[in-house]
Symmetry: D2
Subunit: 349 residues, 4 copies
Amino acid sequence: MIFTSDNWAGAHPAIAASLNAHAAAYAPAYGTSELDRKVEATFNETFGRDVAVFFVGTGTAANSLALSSVNRPGGVVFCHHDAHVIADECGAPEFFSQGARLAPVSGTDGKIDPAALEAEIARYPKEFVHAGQPMAITLTQATEAGTVYQPDEIRAISNIAKAHGLPLHMDGARFANALVSLDISPAEMTADLGVDILSFGGTKNGCWCAEALVFLDPEMASQAPFIRKRAAQLFSKSRFIAAQFDAYFENDLWLDIARHANRMAARLQDGLLASQNARLAWKCDANEIFPIISQTKAASLRNEGAMFYDWNPPRPHGNLVAEDEGMFRLVTSFATTEADVDRFIEVLG
Amino acid sequence: MIFTSDNWAGAHPAIAASLNAHAAAYAPAYGTSELDRKVEATFNETFGRDVAVFFVGTGTAANSLALSSVNRPGGVVFCHHDAHVIADECGAPEFFSQGARLAPVSGTDGKIDPAALEAEIARYPKEFVHAGQPMAITLTQATEAGTVYQPDEIRAISNIAKAHGLPLHMDGARFANALVSLDISPAEMTADLGVDILSFGGTKNGCWCAEALVFLDPEMASQAPFIRKRAAQLFSKSRFIAAQFDAYFENDLWLDIARHANRMAARLQDGLLASQNARLAWKCDANEIFPIISQTKAASLRNEGAMFYDWNPPRPHGNLVAEDEGMFRLVTSFATTEADVDRFIEVLG
Amino acid sequence: MIFTSDNWAGAHPAIAASLNAHAAAYAPAYGTSELDRKVEATFNETFGRDVAVFFVGTGTAANSLALSSVNRPGGVVFCHHDAHVIADECGAPEFFSQGARLAPVSGTDGKIDPAALEAEIARYPKEFVHAGQPMAITLTQATEAGTVYQPDEIRAISNIAKAHGLPLHMDGARFANALVSLDISPAEMTADLGVDILSFGGTKNGCWCAEALVFLDPEMASQAPFIRKRAAQLFSKSRFIAAQFDAYFENDLWLDIARHANRMAARLQDGLLASQNARLAWKCDANEIFPIISQTKAASLRNEGAMFYDWNPPRPHGNLVAEDEGMFRLVTSFATTEADVDRFIEVLG
Amino acid sequence: MIFTSDNWAGAHPAIAASLNAHAAAYAPAYGTSELDRKVEATFNETFGRDVAVFFVGTGTAANSLALSSVNRPGGVVFCHHDAHVIADECGAPEFFSQGARLAPVSGTDGKIDPAALEAEIARYPKEFVHAGQPMAITLTQATEAGTVYQPDEIRAISNIAKAHGLPLHMDGARFANALVSLDISPAEMTADLGVDILSFGGTKNGCWCAEALVFLDPEMASQAPFIRKRAAQLFSKSRFIAAQFDAYFENDLWLDIARHANRMAARLQDGLLASQNARLAWKCDANEIFPIISQTKAASLRNEGAMFYDWNPPRPHGNLVAEDEGMFRLVTSFATTEADVDRFIEVLG
């Protein structure tokens, strides 16, 4: 009953096998191998257009380099106040972008509220050097609240971005989970909606270390090779990231994994909703679910072997949580089993 | 006959197997798993003292974070003029250390000349703010010339470092190759000689992606956890780096791999020295060898399937190379076979 | 009737005269002249202890270098949400400190609320690398709301700083105005209350360009000479900043100027309070005052030659301002006359 | 007999008077006053075209921001090995440009040698990410050796810049001295020869603090307002820099000052050449002169009140200097008198 995080799971067997299969061979280094090329072509097919792809080692790297690649002096990046970039990356985006600022924007369900976004952008009037200048908008799909932006919600953000001449970045650490939740294509969730740059995450969805920085508009990538190398993110044996992605995309494994994880989360949600002993902070669209449970119950669950995190949100979520309760986070992955879920619900009662 | 680089080789079977063996299990993320702990303990044993170890993804990351961790404003890092940090890292050390400067120091055989080092340091008089201030010395072991610093040569550099109050960093991308060449212990090649911080490389010696930033004096590591995370080098599934190192150290596999690679290089050297058609730029101590061959011969070798790089050094190496000749680099690894070597020598004639 | 800003005023005649008086002489450059030394000694006397003083050209420089001098990777600086460092410096503090973050803290009257500060610091648990780490607290004295922290209010912030091992910085762009408002000594407003580093502003109080970075504890200044030079803030003819400060301190001119400006603001406040046509957003303690006036009245005042800024605060100040009203800022300086003030009140009616 | 540096001189009387004359008036802050506008127009006239001008406080700031404004990741700036940017700015250019590297290029007489420049650029092959990428060329006019680039020498550098798509920056800390030496117009020394960005220095030529960052092509300046503000170089009372420049340009005062300084240097040179007791390291074209004198003579001169610096060059200047000799630097300025010069020569004998 491990629901701590999808990065506590290991590597999916098919991905582990692919790593293993490529272990023996020689191959050109630094992203120049045939396998690198093949996987880059797969990205093109996956997104239905020529994209510029750069493999990196961590999601923080993908996000930070995405934002660095559209850097402006005195730049301000608008994100949801619970976004990973602002809450969980130790200032990496600010560091890589030479001190750009992350401006938190409010919004329910982990999603940027368009009106709040407009209000925040308005604090940086054009050519008013004292305040700095808007530089990018970033949204997280699926969100940190386990919800998923609907296409028209992304479009609303994207329209604001375009109106202000701002690039739109998507943090897709859980891209696959969102995608299968919406049941649309990668292009329909990104380029078609005005997303310019994507952090495409594989690690949380069954890889051990496979993240990609994807420029939907390759012209924005002109400096990216240098930005990546200077950031110490160009792996000499890059083909091992490629090898993971190779298995990841084969026969839509990535979508299958995400569907499984989402299904396990939905099963958890069903159980939680049916229980008298829990309620939900937000409706679950993907593979994260945030129950509010009494501290006593939570202790019982942990006594029975359930593992999950307290979710002490950086910002108070109103009066959702009573004094003797806690908010917790449950995350599912390729490795979550129905038995895990059912046992959890059973202990919860 | 692939002699391009040790990072063209894949992963050693035992290391690939270890990765595979750990694929299935759940484990705490971000470097907190039991396997991470176990491997950290192995580092302590390996170095015969408590060290502070931080796994990172690339050698450039290890070097850059090592230097960042001893950062000073207006800081100057002294390195050999052919060092990887100055020649091959796209300015990453300067970037991560907020604009510190790499000052090239001359020296034969890829080694920093102590007198030249003193002269270079003297250009930065104490408290003369215009010039900046010395911040660190970094040496590469084995060197970029395929040579290995003798202990007393390291001691000579280290004495200068201590005299000027400068930390001494060792870029050990090929640490194992140097170690078995000298046939001394890790401590005898580092801490005992005054090395403070080490980039401990596994990737070139049979891992697919395993580098460690090692503080021989753990007190220097107080900020390193934040420096690593901010640099996007804290891997969520960090235990997969640990898994590689676990196999790497088991039964001294790492030393066996290095001994094999060095032996193959020595065999190449024997052949090259015996041939009328080549001479050597530098004597080979480790697993890199730099023959000077006629362009015609080089073309023949390549026609027969030999792969190796032209070595157009960033700085002219005097009149070593005649007009119709080239300097080339041959690198051996765990994957190099005697057959490869013998065939190369045979074609060379 | 110019009430736009105290930096619209020129240079006080005595300060202009001092600049002029030192124009002819030769003097050693880069802060090494006798005059530099003399003024540094005056700072020691002024603060009743040995301080480390560094002249810089702008308040933004003083603030940014103060924070850079206590830099930590992934560092977070806590400030009031309307503080100059976060609202008006184009990201300079973040830029100079390699991407440190400014975390806005709420509080009425432009002052950091201690409870809110504690809550914000609590978001960065010790050694939790994902969030980053606290690095400093900065408060503005006088505040951006024209108020002045009472000594016990500073003490409350300082106690929190000490409890968390954080240096405390004071942005004293209007230091003199606060000082005469409290009628205490410089030491009583800083070192005695636990302030570690001070941005000591002269420009807004009658200099043309004279700011000083003051370390109340000189041991914290060990890297400051390099930090300043690297920041392009070491002036070759530094003695001209010294010349301004020389006149500034002579016969307590700086306090006289500040008293005059505060008196003019108090006179404005009296008139505003007596008027039916205005009310105040905050009580004025120093030389800034924020009346809420109908837009019609504001237009009339401007028609009559009054100059002042709309104050569209970056954050909404509740329901202070009705729809047909505006909040405005009036600032007084050495150059403000009673006639200016009285005429303004007369037109206001 | 003060020949230490042109920044030991104070402010020219006309410039001091202008500062004084503008002290009393109110004026809009942050570079928006009428005087700022007037001086910007003067720059346009001076360069015979629309230029984008940004006042800053130090030459280091002008240089650093010029290079930052053409920043590239992994960027390399080519400069003469004795250039101020590499030898005397404490790493400021590297700091402001996020770790760009300064690559020293050799050349006699303080001038970049075109062939050496080409060779240095060739070390950074296009799209070879490991090495980094060329980003700019910067030359110093007048040079640090007291010489002046002839127009065709600038053209030679500029042709290389254009061929490689690199912007060309000129460090004009002693722009006026070079200009009157060549007796051409500002445009003929810059834009007409392909210079893109200029650090236009006033401080060494009679101002107390007046430097301008000049974009000959204003389109390159789009980010400069934010770059300057973020660098803490936007002065609130900017018009006082403008006031200095206003007097500086009036009736060609700047050229008169420079002609005087150059004339004094020429007079020194005549005396030095006529003496048996000195010889010159380089021919003097502007206002710096580098005699080689016996240490005994140097001591005598200092005993008689002459002040000047030892010139221990960062790089050995061959065997120019015998063991009992020293190389010294003499600098003249608006404040240098014929009597100073004649007395120096008299003591020299």
